[in-house]
Amino acid sequence: MADDQQLKTGVGIQQPIDRRHFLGSGAGLAGGIAGCLQLLSHPLLADELKQQEKRVILLWLAGGASQLETFDPKPRRPTGGPFQAIPTSTAGVYISELMPKMAQRMENTAIIRSLNTGIGDHGGGSILMHLGRRDEPNLKYPDMGSVLAHELGQADSSVPDFVTFYTATEGRGNAVGRPGFLGARYAPMFLTTNNKPDDLARIAELAEVDHRQRADLRQLLSDRFTRGRETERVLESHNVAYRRVRGLMASDTLFDVEDEPQKMHSLYGPTLFAQQCMIARRLAEAGTPFVKVSRAWWDSHGQNFETHLEMVTELDHVMSTLLEDLRQRGMLESTLVITLSEFGRTPTINGSLGRDHFARAWSASLSGCGINGGSVYGKTDEDGQHVAEGEIGAAEMIATIYQALGIDPQKEYHVGARPVPLTDPGTEAVTEVLA
């Protein structure tokens, strides 16, 4: 296994430019994880990352939201369903009438209408749309959350760098974050039953002042011990890790939306998805580079229109509120908000007024950071059965996300001696939707 290989060789995950920093620092490859941590704390690189301060909020529409009831309506066609298309703030761009609030603010959002991803089962489709490619038998790829936590996060960050919300039980197993060969350091904080992590809270018996004093004492002893042992990288890595845990514990309050003013609660609304998006914004504001809010479950084999009337109405409200909240805080230009599913839904309407799984021609949206707002890429035919123009797959979708964030999709990691690009060789981003 690649993970085993990484452990055996002691070779960490590196990129060419980073390796130069790494070697230049005088630390050896054998430094392993400690070396990586030191690498990421290099002043030049840290500054570069800090300047970027880019964040991602993925709205994962688990179960497969319908493109026809969101971003690619086909009104008055046999496949179109009952919803109309409405004009948006961008001339010539129409979306479903279920999204009137998003329609008023399309200047920050790009639509991709030409995904053909080929996998029509929930599990396979979810993995594909998280990885941008299929696994290899001997190599587990990290999903985009782990990659972006690695790319955008900082080793000594006091906040978690990959948080996932998935409260519904259906499909949860399909959407577990996968750090793959990046290792457990880039696994997500995975929140299911609660909006707040259970394990971060300080134990009740330990007062905050005692907790702080213990930390101070530990630091004092550590400093004494390292005096004269400045080359002891392992010890330093322990200190970094300890500070990180302390930071994560302090970030506990980020999950507590009760801190938000009533006005914000009123704006976002009372639903669980709204609450989690509010927390996502708090985390992004505090520096968490990747937050996934999973809204499940869109799998409307029966009563598709009733289901989408409920869920798109909620998505429209919460997503538009989130974008406006980010804009008002000056964060929208540095925060990429994505809507993505494992697939779309069939244009053909079944006997239960449902739509089934459909990976052949469906849509996603990208808003904010690095995006050419108001742009639409790709086109489906008049009934939405096939991609008519600009067909892309999962790899191109993920590459576009990376490039929007200023990350080269062909950037290479090394697993052992093997160079592994972020996306499959030759994959190109959809530059038409990028700023």
Binding site: R76, P82, G302, E306
Partner: protein, 339 residues
């Protein structure tokens, strides 16, 4: 007095394929000429018993045509576009269009003397209209706009009592309100919570609702139809469910859970002499059922060729015209044999 009809003799006499989803049906003055409302926004007029029916399109709506009622020379259609259109049922020409609701119109009903039209919509208002001139008579407001879980609710069904004095309206969360038509006063609220499934854990959204209502001929009973609780709300795979109330007492007198054929009960019609209750609907497939209320049992049930969205019965109560997914179906029944 009507001739005794034997539901056990029910048989399909005609199946007419039609592209799209047929959501509503009305019969022209007890003839074989019927109108069907379609997902393509058209109302089609056709002779349902012709060898090769040739539907004539009546264009006017912009979305699914979900309600059709007919009286004399008037036909009124209602649509998800929120409009009501009055048509001349003979010439098929439009008489007037009324912007009736700002959300989807789900169902229409007319009283027996053909003077008043009721429309229900997802704006959660029932509006009563003068059928002759299209003027608004009254608004009935009592159903909540949001579900208890903060999502938009839906007002699916309405029906007049045979004497026209009562109107029932029913919504997504399982609430039925009985109104006094003359005053617009609420007379009763009946709860059918089983017909609304909120899934707080697995999928975090809802399904269901009361899709059909009907008063018994003597107006003492009110039947409501939908589904029972649904375990997997991705699908309509639930027991069809009918609850019948003595609405004045607020007592539930009957519960029917269909397990042979499943799905939503989309339409309910009492026999005019209360000999039986007719129900139809479906999931991926369709069903038609007859219930004996005195015996509290199913008299006859059959698989329909498609999910049935609407049906209308002729005056003799021996012919049923049903609109559904891609088809118009005609069922016929024979007179009961005397002993």
């Amino acid at each position: 007095m009507l001739a005794q009809i034997d539901p056990a003799t029910l048989k399909v006499s005609k199946k007419i394929s039609q592209p799209g989803i047929l959501l509503s049906v009305a019969q022209l003055n007890d003839s074989n000429q019927v109108f069907v409302g379609s997902s393509d926004g058209m109302v089609y007029s056709l002779d349902a018993m012709a060898d090769k029916p040739e539907p004539l399109a009546m264009e006017g709506h912009q979305s699914y045509v979900t309600g059709l009622v007919q009286s004399g020379e008037l036909l009124v259609s209602g649509s998800f576009d929120g409009k009501l259109i009055w048509w001349n049922s003979q010439t098929r020409e439009q008489i007037r269009t009324v912007d009736a609701h700002h959300k989807w119109i789900r169902q229409l009903a007319i009283n027996q003397d053909g003077t008043m039209l009721a429309s229900v919509s997802d704006d959660m208002v029932c509006r009563l209209w003068n059928l002759a001139d299209g003027s608004l008579i009254k608004e009935l407001k009592g159903h909540a706009e949001k579900t208890p879980h903060h999502f938009p609710s839906m007002l699916y069904a309405c029906a007049f009592s045979a004497d026209g004095s009562l109107l029932a309206t029913a919504d997504r969360v399982g609430l039925t309100i009985v109104w006094e038509v003359e005053t617009g006063k609420e007379l009763a609220r009946l709860e059918s919570p089983i017909m609304y499934t909120w899934d707080p854990k697995q999928r975090i959204h809802s399904i269901g609702g009361i899709r059909s209502v009907a008063f018994s001929a003597d107006r003492s009973l009110l039947a409501v139809g939908g589904t029972g609780k649904i375990n997997n709300i991705d699908h309509l795979e639930a027991l069809s469910r009918i609850e019948i109330f003595d609405w004045e007492k607020g007592e539930r007198t009957h519960e029917f859970n269909g397990d042979t054929y499943k799905g939503l009960v989309e339409q309910l019609i009492f026999h005019p002499e209360d000999q039986w209750l007719l129900a139809a609907g479906g999931d991926h497939n369709g069903f038609i059922k007859f219930y004996d209320l005195a015996e509290k049992k199913v008299i006859k049930q059959d698989k329909a060729p498609m999910h049935v969205h609407d049906l209308v019965v002729n005056e003799a109560f021996d012919t049923i015209f049903a609109a559904g997914h891609g088809q118009l179906v005609v069922w016929q029944m024979d007179a009961a044999k005397s002993d």
